[in-house]
Symmetry: C2
Subunit: 326 residues, 2 copies
DNA sequence: TACTAATCTGTAACCCGTTACACATTATTC
DNA sequence: GAATAATGTGTAACGGGTTACAGATTAGTA
């Protein structure tokens, strides 16, 4: 590995001069610069980021904590972040938390020790006080953490409303909701959006709402139970696409035709929704855009700029497909 | 940020002693150790990984290069790697190459500069000579790079054979193949497996094989064309699950029933295959296991152990589902 | 011409750990 | 009791950059 000393020696200058050339700061004579650049090329010198980090106390690295990259919602999120950051000269450390506070803490510890410049966090459990301990720029993505921390998320409530309204529009007369886990902001707000619309209906029963844990199998199970105890239900709003898929499976197992007997709409707009039969209607999130902007905000924070807008709410878009076409 | 000096000062010892306590090496008196540990706890001292890396010339970080985390095959692969490595004390840098040699090179440069300890690479384009330039432990995953580099991959050819045989067994009389991109080891070998079985059939035509680029939309297009020009085809082996899905879409658009009119089988065993209707038969890969073992091999390499087995071939498992049930 | 400002370059301290080496003390062995 | 081994601890160099500071030239100005 060639070091700055090797280059200095080769170019017959001091390491300070080489450093100045590399970083384009301070005065350097044109001829000297050329000599140094020639030596850099000749020796194929690449400055050592670790040494630089040690001095500068920053690493040009950021961490992204997601619950589970295996969940189809997150790859695109991570991709949006990574794409932007690499182009800004940052590398991205991937952290799968499984929503486990211990793991989250572990990852934050590691980040701190590695002089990571900042973190993008998707979490329900991390609190502002914990983040304060680590004293690094943080941006919340998909779920808010605290009003002081810049957040990039979907307007879940209005999305929930749109979903319920759409089901009413296509003629559903009894609409159930497969809700995500309790006390998770996303699922709660989507549920509230549904309630906003449905509570005005005289037929509404609280037993039309069941909890599905954002998981396909679980959603299939609870949907089946729901449809068995409430055969009058002809429309289902699932709290995310994966659960909508579970609902689709449930309908199938009960020999219900979608959309004729049962209309189904999901939430998220992951690619999966185009791959089912019938294709799933959904509330699509601008995932890539959102994550990219989160990454932008993080780099701004790292560069010491204030981000004026703490709350960045993105609209969801209704995508009408076969599963609600009636 | 507390440093080792702070701790030393607090415990009234030298930094060397603190270092010895932290790393549990060298002689340290029991009482001294306790004093130091108390100071560490009190000050919540976490050693600075960057400084350590600089001296040790290793970073407890590895890079993983995948084409695109957004492709449903890779998240599980990455997860297998990350899970194993975090537990071994390594963090994982995620790199999306888009199969672009420039990006691959850029990522390798960054890794080198950050003293990354090793890399796990999924690539068709990276060559051994390039890797040699970087002089770091490398393991190839999913696709081989060179016989000198430990490889963890599926037995694609035998998988291709199993797929073709299965279609014959369920009674298909004309079997087409949607092949992945040319000169990509995986697609070529799956194709060869198909040929191994099909070439003995007197009905075989080379026009039964079309190329689909591992992409759903493209696969749907070429499958449709294939079925239109060869309506006698009643079985399709797609080079991966995403293309099998495209084939399913094509069948649908031609009003063909799956599996009655057309049996379809994919390759990979991603979760998606359980989510379609009908559910897709596929050759399932032990993705998580394979990637975990790749990570194990990489850490072994990093620790200076030789990995005896360069070629680690994993079997695929035939999963029979509705799409080939006839 | 004299003086100030701008340009150029090198020396050395610093970032924060790790460890070779030296020295001191205590334990073991004959 | 002397010699040797084992234990305990500190000093300082080192890893590879960055930059404050000083000193030397050159350019610009009155």
């Amino acid at each position: 590995m060639t070091t700055i000393k090797d280059v200095a020696h080769h170019a017959e200058v001091s390491v300070a001069t080489v450093s100045r050339v590399i970083n384009r700061n301070g005065y350097v004579n044109e001829d000297t610069r050329k000599k140094v650049e020639a030596a850099v090329d000749l020796l194929n010198y690449k400055p050592n980021s670790v040494a630089r980090s040690l001095f500068k106390k920053q690493s040009k690295t950021i961490g992204i904590i997601v619950p589970d990259i295996t969940n189809p919602y997150f790859p695109e999120l991570v991709r949006g972040v990574e794409d932007y950051l690499i182009q800004k000269g940052f590398t991205t450390i991937l952290c799968n938390s499984d929503e486990d506070p211990e793991k989250e803490r572990l990852y934050l510890d590691v980040m701190k020790q590695k002089y990571v410049d900042g973190a993008i966090i998707v979490s329900n459990t991390i609190e502002r006080d914990l983040i304060a301990e680590y004293d690094m720029p943080v941006v919340a993505l998909d779920r808010s953490i605290h009003q002081d921390i810049p957040t990039f998320a979907i307007d879940n409530r209005s999305g929930g409303r749109k979903a319920a309204e759409h089901l009413l529009e296509v003629g559903c007369t009894r609409i159930g909701h497969i809700k995500g886990p309790d006390k998770v902001e996303n699922s709660d707000n989507r549920y509230l959006g549904y309630i906003d619309v449905i509570k005005q209906q005289d037929w509404f029963l609280s037993s039309y709402v069941v909890e599905g844990n954002f998981d396909q199998k679980e959603a299939a199970k609870v949907t089946k139970e729901l449809l068995q105890s409430h055969p009058e239900i002809d429309g289902i709003f699932a709290g995310n696409d994966v659960m909508a898929l579970g609902a689709l499976k449930a309908a199938e197992s009960l020999n219900l035709n979608v959309p004729e007997d049962l209309a189904i709409i999901g939430f998220d707009g992951i690619d999966l929704t185009e791959m089912t039969k019938p294709e799933l209607s959904t509330l699509s999130q601008p995932i890539y855009q959102m994550s990219r902007e989160a990454a932008e905000a993080l780099t701004a924070l790292i560069e010491g700029k204030m981000v004026k807008e703490k709350e960045n709410v993105f609209p969801s878009t209704l995508i009408k497909r076969q599963s609600t076409k009636r």
